[in-house]
């Protein structure tokens, strides 16, 4: 047994450092969270109130930020006039569809890749992972040409397929790491007991199920937050939330209140999901290279 952390002995230097680090953390927290606060509060402000600023250099005047009467009219605008419920549904279908496809196909492939060795496996693997890492714009050039010839541009199936280009390799790559951690001995024991290979595979699924669940969520997150694919491939018939939000910026009239409200609507669900799968986030966001 040992203390959780390496012990420190109190020296004057240590004390100075700990004060400095507290200050640093507080500044960083403000810097990180302030944009959210402004977005959230502004979404409930009338435009004139949202535009109120203290005079330049008047630090004491920051209080004007809180001088407003809350209004829900921006949210009403979004859903009543701008059809946001439709876009939300599009986002959900596109993100969810590609996530489910990716994880189902991906887990089968990941399982096999984890259990079998063959020549060229590392090349196959590299191809899979580089598909995921390729610049979105570069991928989109040929994809756009192909989808256009197949009449997939502007449709939800097209968008689902487009999202699968990054979610499927992601799922294979990450889930293989999961299956690698399940000892082959479990399946061997199952097969000795009389299970078929496929039954053996099913028997280890519960072991990786939490991970698979988390990665469905991560796939949804990546797809939900996408802008480029949605703007080009989904343009027209399959408008998603980020694109619809962007379209509130019009040359003559930027509807800032509605944009802030749309930001809240787009971001809040993902934040909640992010918290739910917090344990897997670092693994997911680093392509499995770093585990918490």
């Amino acid at each position: 047994m040992a203390s959780r952390d390496v012990v420190h002995y109190n020296t004057p230097l240590q004390r100075v450092l700990s004060v400095l680090s507290v200050v640093f953390v507080i500044f960083y927290l403000i810097w990180t969270l302030l944009p959210f606060v402004i977005m959230f509060v502004s979404s409930f402000k009338d435009l004139l109130e949202a535009f109120k600023l203290p005079a330049v250099g008047d630090w004491a005047g920051i209080g004007v930020f809180f001088e407003f009467t809350p209004t829900l009219k921006h949210y009403q605008t979004l859903f009543a006039e701008n059809n946001f419920s439709r876009y939300m549904l599009n986002s959900l279908i596109a993100a969810g569809g590609s996530a489910v496809i990716s994880v189902i196909f991906g887990s089968l492939a990941a399982y096999s890749l984890s259990r079998v060795d063959f020549r060229g496996k590392s090349d196959l693997f590299f191809w899979i992972i580089s598909t995921r890492m390729a610049p979105v714009v570069a991928v989109m050039v040929p994809l756009f040409a192909i989808f256009r010839s197949l009449d997939l541009v502007g449709t939800l199936p097209g968008l689902i397929l487009a999202y699968t280009t990054f979610n499927l390799p992601f799922a294979i790559w990450i889930l293989k790491g999961f299956f690698d951690n399940v000892p082959y001995g479990i399946e061997e024991a199952q097969m000795v007991d009389g299970a078929t290979r496929f039954q053996a595979f099913r028997s280890i699924l519960p072991l990786v199920a939490p991970g698979i669940g988390a990665f469905i969520v991560l796939c949804i997150l990546f797809a939900w937050n996408d802008f480029l694919f949605a703007a080009i491939i989904g343009s027209g018939g399959a408008k998603t939330l980020p694109v619809a939000t962007r379209e509130l910026v019009q040359p003559q009239n930027i509807q800032w209140g509605a944009i802030m409200a749309a930001g809240v609507v787009t971001t809040a669900p993902m934040m909640l999901l992010g918290l739910v799968i917090r344990k897997y986030l670092v693994t997911g966001l680093t392509m499995g290279a770093v585990k918490e």
């Binding site: 390496v6 640093f24 953390v25 927290l29 990180t32 969270l33 944009p35 402004i38 502004s42 535009f51 330049v56 630090w59 930020f65 196909f105 089968l108 492939a109 096999s112 890749l113 079998v116 063959f118 196959l124 590299f126 191809w127 580089s130 890492m133 610049p135 979105v136 570069a138 050039v141 040929p142 994809l143 756009f144 499927l168 390799p169 009389g194 299970a195 078929t196 997150l221 939900w224 937050n225 996408d226 802008f227 480029l228 939330l241 962007r246 930001g263 787009t266 971001t267 993902m270 934040m271 999901l273 918290l275 917090r278 670092v282 966001l285 680093t286 290279a289 770093v290 585990k291 918490e292």
Partner: protein, 332 residues
């Protein structure tokens, strides 16, 4: 391959079949031992492999359709000009043109300058933050707060910051102005400062990722090495540089490469904030590619740029995978 299937089928029809097999072997006692072994499909290595290839096949086929096939298309397109039916073969002209394309060349320069600034700030702030947060009583809360920006769609983040940077009512503009960092013009309106604006947004969104990675790395620094060094006579400072940092390099390398590749990948916030302007000051290569391909619909030239960009990414990816596979990375 059919062998596998029979192998599976045999065992699916489990009880009666097995029973029958046993009966046969007792009747014919003189049979060689091998006859008592399980049917070939079960243990035969080739058949075992084939089974796994079946499971793999759907994913590989789908991936081939959405990645390999487009890649060949991209190569074809790079040697063509025109669009939709009216294409003509132009050989290497698209590539040759790139060599004299100022936007293409400055796109690379800007991309690297942008990445360098982002990475420098993210790594230095991120690691410092990780060191401070590590072991703090409020670690869980702080980490949760840090996660927030990463959950936001980059395009939405761009729009939010467009609001914050606004020259007449943006709060961040007011802060910069009040601090004397900026004149009355918006940070986005000047070619001198626009690059910093997009860097700041990237730093805001993604520094936490570096922090989380560094934090995971810090947790894995062998504690007994730190303690051995303390007993050997090291101060906490020396300990950090002699033990902690060297142990952190592998994960940091991964973090830097990941972020570097993401700088190629994600341009959403730039498209929203500046669209590459003002005066092309933020037109990093992927943004320029977006413009060529999807604003001017010059798909041939776009394909050529995309191909070059892909080759560079593949090289970076090769390096990254090499780092992944190093045992010290502690990854897979």
């Amino acid at each position: 391959m059919t062998e596998t299937l029979t192998g599976i089928d045999m065992s699916v029809r489990a009880p009666e079949d097995r029973f029958r097999a046993r009966k046969v072997s007792t009747e014919v006692e003189a049979r060689p031992l091998s006859a008592a072994l399980p049917p070939p499909g079960r243990l035969n290595p080739a058949a075992r492999k084939a089974y796994y290839f079946y499971l793999m096949a759907p994913a590989i086929a789908l991936l081939a359709f959405i990645s390999l096939y487009p890649f060949f298309w991209l190569i074809v397109m790079a040697f063509q000009k025109g669009d939709m039916g009216a294409v003509e073969w132009v050989g290497f002209k698209n590539f040759i043109d790139l060599a004299s394309d100022d936007r293409f060349l400055s796109g690379w320069v800007l991309l690297f300058r942008y990445s360098a600034m982002c990475l420098f700030l993210q790594v230095s702030i991120g690691v410092l933050l990780a060191v401070v947060v590590n072991g703090s009583r409020y670690e869980r809360f702080l980490v949760t707060a840090l996660l927030m920006p990463m959950m936001m769609a980059p395009a939405v983040a761009g729009l939010l910051w467009l609001f914050l940077y606004n020259g007449t009512f943006g709060w961040y503009h007011w802060i910069f102005h009040s601090l004397g960092l900026l004149g009355s013009g918006s940070i986005l309106s000047s070619a001198k400062t626009a690059m910093y604006a997009i860097v700041l947004v990237d730093v805001w969104q993604w520094t936490p990722l570096i922090t989380l990675i560094a934090l995971a790395g810090l947790k894995r620094v062998p504690r007994d090495q730190i303690e051995a060094n303390m007993v050997d006579g090291a101060s906490p400072f020396r300990n950090f540089f002699a033990i902690v940092l060297p142990n952190l390099y592998p994960v940091l390398l991964i973090a830097v490469l990941l972020r570097f590749m993401d700088n190629f990948r994600f341009i959403d916030h730039i498209l929203v904030l500046t669209g590459g302007g003002p005066a092309n000051a933020t037109k990093i290569l992927p943004v320029y590619l977006f413009e060529v391909a999807f604003k001017f619909f010059d798909l041939g030239r776009g394909a050529a740029i995309a191909l070059v960009l892909l080759v560079v990414t593949i090289i970076l990816g090769k390096i990254l995978v090499g780092v992944f596979d190093r045992p010290t990375a502690g990854g897979r």
